[in-house]
């Protein structure tokens, strides 16, 4: 079961997530993006990539493998962060 949370303070109502989502999960309501059809979300995370304010958060999605991210870079980042 996927859950989507929108940070209302961060969302600037640009509407990019509304346009980009192929399943029309989002709608703009009162100057904020609202996930109105969460049950249709397939977890592609295009909305995350396109959101300029990083206002979106997904729970319960399948995180795809990202082998293109260098192991050494990840290790280094983990040490720093």
């Amino acid at each position: 079961m996927i859950e989507i949370t929108v940070d209302k303070d961060a969302c600037n109502a640009c509407g990019l997530c509304v346009k980009d989502c192929p399943m029309h999960v989002y709608e703009l309501k009162d100057g904020v993006a609202v996930p109105v059809r969460v049950e249709n979300c397939m977890g592609c995370l295009s909305c995350h990539e396109i959101c300029p304010t990083q206002a979106l958060e997904h729970r319960g999605i399948y995180p795809s493998k990202r082998h293109y991210i260098d192991i050494r870079v990840c290790e280094m980042l983990n040490r720093v962060i």
């Binding site: 397939m42 592609c44 990539e49 293109y68």
Partner: protein, 178 residues
């Protein structure tokens, strides 16, 4: 090179047993392959233009037939797709998907019968993102060919795969049944 290397005796059948490289070593190979594949596709696009899609589709289709020919034949398309998803695990992980208002995975709309597939893990996506290349291009056509080839092999049915949406964590494809 150490001296001990020269004195070790290898029989031809022993060599694969000794092939247990650490992940860091495998990663270098994987990244090299991803880089190479990305450059091949970019060059192919530059030289062959739209013809690049035909080449990659054909390559993918051959790959699909090749992989799926060792598996049992299934008539039921849904069952075949689940089987295929197991076959391709590690390269492409996908699942059947439907919008909430549809009663079944097999959808009939405007005279066409199709099934939505969501691809999660995908070596194509990883290669493209490794190289900063756009998704949905010729390299994605290999996947199109792969699924079509495998479905033809398993079910004996002809099919077409359409890219509906590409994303960083998953891609939505439409498998149109003929």
């Amino acid at each position: 090179m150490t001296g001990s290397v020269h004195h070790t005796i290898y029989r031809s059948e022993d060599v694969p047993l000794g092939c247990i490289p650490p992940p860091e070593e495998l990663e270098d190979t994987l990244h090299g392959l991803m880089k190479l594949n990305g450059l091949i596709i970019r060059s192919l696009e530059e030289i062959a233009g739209r013809g690049a899609n035909a080449v990659t589709y054909r390559a993918g289709r051959k790959f699909g037939h090749e992989v799926a020919k060792y598996f049992r034949k299934i008539e039921n398309i849904e069952e075949a797709l689940v089987e295929l998803s197991h076959i391709l695990r590690g390269q492409y992980t996908f699942e059947l998907w439907k919008p909430a208002d549809k009663p079944s995975f097999i959808i009939e709309e405007n005279g066409a019968t199709f099934i939505y597939l969501v691809f999660h893990d995908c070596i194509v996506r990883q290669t493209l993102r490794r190289n900063g290349q756009e998704q949905g291009g010729p390299l994605c056509q290999t996947l199109y060919g792969y699924v079509v080839g495998a479905i033809e092999e398993i079910t004996g049915r002809r099919a077409k795969l359409e890219i509906v949406h590409t994303g960083p964590n998953g891609c939505l494809k439409k498998l149109i049944l003929k």
